[in-house]
């Protein structure tokens, strides 16, 4: 009898993990990833394409010794080829995932019956 109860509990726990824990896990993983990513996380080491890769077409003040960074100015990100800008690090994770992670199992299933 005890084995049966344990199996049911385990089964329910597995279903719960597949939904809520997944959402929680996504949010936590994204936050953790953002914390350890370098300031230039998106294309570090990748060459710029097209004319931007050619010295004649590159913006004149480019300092070749630095990697470009995504800076932030005028309420927008921009690519700073000098690498001197303060890097922009977007918030971690998907906001919708964060909101779902705060729901109870009952609330989650009530609002999102198909996951």
């Amino acid at each position: 009898m005890a084995d049966v109860v344990d199996e049911r509990t385990h089964a329910r726990a597995e279903r719960s993990v597949s939904r809520r824990t997944f959402v929680r896990g996504c949010a936590a993983a994204a936050a953790g990833a953002a914390a350890v990513l370098p300031a230039w996380p998106l294309h570090a080491g990748e060459p710029l394409t097209g004319a931007a890769a050619q010295p004649a077409a590159a913006t004149a003040s480019v300092a070749a010794a630095r990697e470009p960074v995504v800076g932030f100015r005028m309420d927008r990100p921009y690519l700073d080829p000098t690498g001197l800008a303060e890097p922009y690090v977007p918030p971690a994770g998907t906001r919708s995932g964060e909101a779902l992670a705060a729901l109870s199992e009952h609330e989650f299933l009530s609002r999102h019956p198909y996951g």
Binding site: H43, L48, A56, A57, P77, P81, T82, Y88, P91
Partner: protein, 494 residues
């Protein structure tokens, strides 16, 4: 196939949206003032296809117009591409054909010959949107304006003003005289790439070109904005410059050259090319103006002014950078030009030392007339910011609107929220006859945590009280450059 993975700025809140939208009876918090009938129209940048070069200027994205239509306390929203010739060509090719910002030499070989010969065909109409003579049009300073249907924002096509507007380019900041209803507009680089020709036009309130003046700038420069008085037109020429050699070398259009002086041209409104008087001063950036007025023999200009390059995506060439003595930050300054003087100098005063973001506005009913209040967004680093939910932008986003009293030096501020970044504010009078400053300050706030945009409405005389109302969109809006309030009686909205 569309692939934005090579554009590292197209991420998170700033990822392209690329869809047109209609939202009926938008979600609202608070209560929309019943007196606000008309539309807040805005235009900005949205990439249809990824840029050819990832370090291109943000001003090189396609024009996307938005309209918040206010009627009896209800707000509808419409968002549409400005379908320029360039947008149509890219759509047909299913890829980005156009190269660096205002540099046709970097275009796809399939179009390059034509765009070099006719660079105005590259315009994106992404910078400003205004109404005049019953027409709504979006514009950018490198080509003709594009007329839009005020009911749907559908693109009607480029405007020619009956063939009487002959400049290849049209300003992003024409000025409408509130007394005469005339539009004063102009084009710089009027005869082609890197030319220093300026063509100035008067368009009457019926939309007819009534006057043209052609003259030359001291050097080719970004003349993004002008100022108007009842007697004069004021043209700032400053240190963003270009040349055909630069463009042929494949660079972005503008370079900041801190060696260049500022020139300010003053032309009597009834004068000709020979009547332009150029004043000369130290290196400044005067991208936008607040207003100007003529007082006897003096012309007074009030503007957001920077001593250094305000745009990192238009960097200096080697050896032309700002000196260490130049002060960073933009603040509100007054320049006074004595027309009876023999010298070429002028005076400069700092009216508000506080740093602002450079997108300055006034109550547009006072354009060319004496006025008291200036409005601008600014960054208040002392305000709270939720870094965990909105990114490492503490002290880096425009989180406040300010009302700056040009007479007393007083400042009042509106704070948008701990996860918000504000676009340019616009003043809306409470009623057509209300005094200056009596009305609302409105603008789009991007909620970086909730991934949506909100139009905030605050009482301009009581900014510290916060919102009167917010119109909440269920999605992000692309970057706005400029917007304007169009009263109900100015356009055929229905």
């Amino acid at each position: 196939m569309v692939d934005f993975s090579k554009d590292p700025t197209a991420r998170g809140f700033y990822a392209p949206e690329r869809f047109e939208s209609s939202v009926f009876d938008c979600e609202v918090s608070g209560e929309i003032p019943r007196s606000m009938n008309g539309a807040f129209v805005r235009v900005g940048t949205e990439w249809l296809y990824p840029p050819r070069f990832p370090d291109d200027a943000i001003f090189n994205a396609d024009g996307f117009a938005g309209m918040f239509r206010f009627k009896n306390g209800v707000v509808d929203f419409t968002g549409r591409w400005v379908r320029t010739a360039r947008w149509e060509n890219d759509t047909a090719a299913q890829r980005q054909l156009y190269g660096y910002y205002r540099n046709p030499f970097t275009d796809d070989p399939s179009i390059r010959e034509q765009t070099i010969a006719q660079p105005y065909l590259r315009t994106l109409a992404n910078t400003n949107i205004i109404a005049h003579a019953g027409k709504l049009f979006a514009m950018k300073e490198d080509g003709p304006p594009y007329e839009l249907d005020p009911r749907t924002l559908a693109t009607r096509g480029p405007m020619t003003f009956g063939g009487k507007y002959r400049s290849q380019t049209f300003s992003a900041h024409p000025k409408i005289d509130p007394l005469s209803g005339e539009m004063i507009c102009y084009g710089y680089e009027a005869t082609g790439l890197a030319s220093n020709d300026i063509y100035l036009y008067t368009v009457d309130k019926a939309g007819e070109v009534t006057r043209e003046v052609r003259f030359k700038a001291p050097y080719v420069s970004m003349i993004h904005d002008i100022a108007l008085t009842q007697r004069h037109i004021v043209f700032p020429v400053f240190a963003f410059t270009t040349s055909l050699e630069r463009l042929k070398a494949g660079k972005v259009h503008w370079a900041w050259d801190a060696r260049l002086p500022t020139y300010v041209g003053i032309l009597p409104r009834d004068g000709g090319a020979a009547d332009v008087r150029w004043f000369k001063g130290p290196t400044r950036s005067i991208v936008h103006t607040f207003n100007a007025r003529t007082e006897g023999s003096k012309v007074v200009l009030e503007s957001p002014v920077t001593e250094t390059n305000p745009f990192p995506f238009f960097p200096p060439d080697p050896g032309h950078a700002d000196p260490a003595s130049a002060r960073h930050g933009t603040n509100i300054r007054r320049h006074t030009f004595e027309l009876d003087s023999r010298g070429e100098g002028y005076t400069e005063e700092i009216l508000h030392a506080q740093s602002i973001n450079g997108l300055g506005r006034i109550d547009d009913r006072y354009i060319s007339l004496p006025n008291r209040y200036a409005y601008s967004g600014f960054t208040d680093p002392a305000r709270p910011f939720d870094v965990a939910r909105a990114g490492n932008l503490r002290g880096r986003v425009t989180n406040c609107y300010g009302r700056f009293d040009l007479h007393t030096g007083a400042t009042s501020a509106y704070f948008a929220g701990v996860t918000h970044s504000l676009n340019e504010p616009v003043f809306v009078p409470r009623s057509p006859g209300s005094p200056e400053g009596d009305g609302y300050l409105i603008g789009v706030a991007n909620n970086l945590a909730e991934m949506r945009s909100e139009l905030v409405i605050a009482d301009a005389a009581n900014l510290a009280a916060g919102d009167v109302a917010r119109v909440i969109l269920p999605f992000r809006l692309g970057a706005q450059v400029h917007g304007n309030w169009i009263p109900e009686d100015r356009l055929a909205f229905a």
